[in-house]
Symmetry: D2
């Protein structure tokens, strides 16, 4: 049995842990051979491979990123993409393909498995934790940890100068990182994409915090948006639809708070540091288990399925089903957190 592995989409702490676990178990327990495809779907599309054996995965467990490289290349959008992928899989004599990726990358995997009978097993990957089939995805805990540490740091500087600090964290479509890091960091306001926010309400929470002689921290997901009515249409930080641009909601909000409350406000955009560096212990454990179970899925011929976490168990679910629905923050969870606002 010859197994190929690829990692697609944005990088995420834990990718290397998946690769290592799959190779260790595949080689040692089942005697499989491995080959790596470079840069996500670009690898099988352009037949670009890298050797993958036990020496190649030594020492990579604690390292962020992916030794296989990644890209957003989509064979469905390339000319004869699916055909070229299938030909190259054949040329590489690949019996099974382990695909580690998010919605887009796994979407291709589902098509290949369901429509073309390719022997594909999936491993879910999204730092945003917004895949519905799994309780958690690896990388998320690391990102939350980094954001929480940043919020911890910002508390002291906010207090010393009695100013508002707005922290913009990752999360275009789901507010999981904002919710978890905001709760863990003791934020006074948490804003998520799932629920449009009312700037006046935000300012009221901010002012209330100052009344108890503390300075407020506002955590805002990059995809959070104000209610329509509140947006001044001519503002140049708006996109063509009159919405605040996703990349700039933190800065926009800080300006609004300054204008409306008269308090000094500063923004910090955490950006790429949230997805880099060594994975947390939780993410290493989860990613390692995903890798081990993905190889068991290969052994069992569970094509078209992906591994997922349910409580403390690793289970299998159809890739197609798993990637069809975004897992957003439940309103009751958000309401639960709101006791700390203000």
């Amino acid at each position: 049995m010859r197994v190929a592995v690829l990692t697609g989409g944005g990088d995420c702490p834990g990718l290397n842990a998946v690769i290592r676990a799959a190779v260790r178990k595949g080689v040692q327990e089942y005697g499989y051979d491995f080959v790596g495809f470079r840069d996500g779907w670009r690898g099988p599309l352009e037949n670009d491979t890298v050797p993958l054996d036990i020496p190649a995965v030594r020492g990579i467990l604690p390292r962020g990123g992916t030794v296989l490289g990644s890209s957003r290349t989509n064979p469905l959008r390339a000319e004869n993409g699916i055909r070229r992928v299938r030909e190259n899989l054949a040329e590489q004599e690949v019996d099974a393909l382990v695909v580690i990726g998010g919605e887009d990358t796994l979407g291709v995997a589902a098509r290949l498995a369901d429509e073309h009978g390719v022997h594909v097993v999936g491993v879910p990957k999204t730092i945003d934790n917004d895949l519905s089939a799994t309780d958690y995805t690896f990388g998320f805990d690391t990102a939350v940890g980094i954001a929480t540490e940043a919020i911890d740091r910002l508390h002291t500087t906010a207090e010393s100068h009695m100013r508002v600090l707005v922290v913009e964290v990752m999360g275009r479509h789901a507010g999981w990182i904002a919710l978890h890091s905001g709760l863990a960091g003791g934020a006074n306001v948490i804003l998520i994409p799932e629920r449009r926010f009312d700037v006046d309400q935000v300012c009221s929470w901010v002012s209330s915090r100052f009344r108890s002689s503390y300075a407020p921290i506002v955590v805002v997901a990059e995809g959070a948006m104000p209610r329509d009515g509140e947006v001044v249409l001519k503002d140049d930080s708006l996109d063509s639809f009159g919405h605040v641009r996703l990349s700039g909601v933190g800065e926009w909000l800080a300006k609004q708070i300054e204008r409306r409350t008269g308090k000094e406000a500063r923004t910090t955009v955490l950006g790429h540091v949230q997805r880099g560096g060594t994975p947390s212990a939780f993410d290493r454990w989860l990613a390692t288990r995903f890798g081990l179970h993905a190889i068991d899925a290969v052994r069992d011929g569970a094509w078209g399925e992906m591994v997922a976490l349910r409580a403390t168990d690793i289970v299998r679910v159809p890739i197609a089903e798993a990637t069809s629905r975004l897992k957003t923050v439940n309103p009751s969870l958000y309401r639960e957190a709101s006791v700390f606002f203000g």
Copy 2:
């Protein structure tokens, strides 16, 4: 409604997060009054209290330990203990008591609720993660993170000198910390209390690691024990039953490895640093949610019940049932990890 809170047993990162969340929600949403008992059950036994309101819980979320103090005092073993506790609860006009603790502390809580009708709600706490009713307890993720970071550090010194490093971690009765930190840290051998180990097998794994030009890391839970036959009876590191003393298995094992493999071996006992300091983001999130849901249990009059984590939900279970059985490492989980041994 006047609610008392106490924290009992060994300290654990996240205790303050529970207290803060309970007080914030109780005061703000339900208008409750709070009072803290000092040092676990010693507080209600000796009527030793501390004021507990919103100013008292400001800024404690990221702090380890417990602002209420803790102890292992057990009113069941004190003269007229239960009677004195009930009298002091009455004197303090306490309508409900939130008890945060492990098996022993919660055991008392269950007795008070079930046999004496005291209005008790429980919050599970054990850094060892060995309570059967909940997927995880807070403090565990922090301890695993600290142990993993230590293992990461030891890898480089092991490689530089080509010596064996034995890391003794917490876990008298269950090997969860050893399993998770060993897996996350890339240990070459993991030994847990649930399964007696064979020193020859350990030495064989150690030697195999050296053959691939790497130096082995052995993670051993403090409660792990060798098979009976292997223990030299007169060895002064044995207790009166001829077993290796719990506190010294790491050092004992390092000596055995040196003697049998001829390789230099060193021991590191992580000890109390595993339970101190700021809680991880995961533990702050879990502990905060436990605190919020404990107050909802008070509101609902769910006496004799405790909060617990099931997947990503907080549920309620009877305290008595929850504390009756130790949650040990499943043999299949341990076998899963063994692919990395050697």
Copy 3:
């Protein structure tokens, strides 16, 4: 003897360590009384004080920020500022004033001491490490550590996607943080305010890094500027002098690199997280020693002087002299680092 303490300017990890050490030594060894002025020079200007004794400084050593608050208020620019400060010092019966601050805050202290005979002792504070009289200032080591950790994280994401990552760090007038964190983080380009950069040269280093199959990290101080000729005058990221705006050099540079090399480039602006949170061990040690020696300076009546680090010794220098010249990065140090460029 009654000693007042104030902290002015931007907050900086280590301020609390100075305050604690001064109070501990002053009270315990010399029997002094203390009083704190709030928010830098605003405190003595508006007679706003806070009690300062040993209980008030318990537990503040590891905490970032300043328990006394800070501001950029300058009594020299307030009506009758100096007179009001002197009157309030008299009303508070202050015999000596310990001023912890940077160039501006200490400048006022020097004027008060030299022109008005006020009993002032100074402690230097600048996270940028750009005060000429001292080898290091506290806060700098912490900031460099945070920036280095961020660069470490960004390496893995840069490699995985083979893109350029530009990291903008603090440093308006001096490149110390950029130089130290860039060197420690293994950056491939370091740009500092002391030396205008040539975008073509930067792009050449960037391209050279890609040729060895690695992805480049560019560390740029917020005050770094390109050579004049390279700036497109109509670019809206320029200020009224046609220079790149200080706050945006990272983003500007990333765009230039993308345009000129055809490689994807991303920017991370570290911002306020660099100045928050717990001080590093080095900064706690330095700040503590500054506090101890400042009180010895008070005892010795060394008015108008400030403490400074020379190698491993704490010495005294005239405040006026110490704040008159910016300490910039020596060209030979920058050349030393350039062996790692490209």
Copy 4:
């Protein structure tokens, strides 16, 4: 010019940074060739080498340990040791040898340079910071940081249980790590090898701390010793001279404190984690500069000299002189710290 490099003695964070900097500068600026000797002096003694070029040093800057391996092999104690070293240097066509090590390793280097005319340049390395010729050695700042973080953690557990925590840190002959981490961690007692301690005095400080309702942290260097008179001769933790065994002073002291004060006391021995893992930013900066300047010393033919830090400059000093005297903690520094005792 062909340059050999070796690393000897205990491993230390920063060794790889020295190697990388030396190779980068030597190859890129001066066109030198490099070769690595394995495992300290064992390499040249047994002619065991490893290739050393720019690809070999990529990515090693943040890694602890040493890619060249280390040992305590001493050619002065091997039969014909010096002759074999010289023959192997000749066989490898080595023109210059960069020796990175502590007192013992550099002692051999000094002999080779001074008595046999070997072209040797030294780089000082001791995690204990006890070499007299340099203000700091790399690895020390990392070790102090790890110890300080551990002390931070132990504070919360000490307070929660109102018990004494004794932390044993590295330092057989000099108390630098104990002094710096104790000061930075807010320890209540610091004990160093330079000054025998009085157990009654320690107990008095411990008791005084409890009187202010806080729990004490005692930091003790592994080489610290009680005054002779205080040692109970029959105690089995004493060596044959009636002294406390070096490895066990922490545990011995905790027992003494329990016995004399009646307070519970626990010991944590930090051990090898202090010397492992990624170097701090300060250590990476210092080690990198040592590597760059060592190659300049090679270029200048400064045989028999080693690089050293003086304030913020790198200077050269004769190896023989530099290693002849231990740098111990100055009594005035220790007295300065004592204001925090009790």
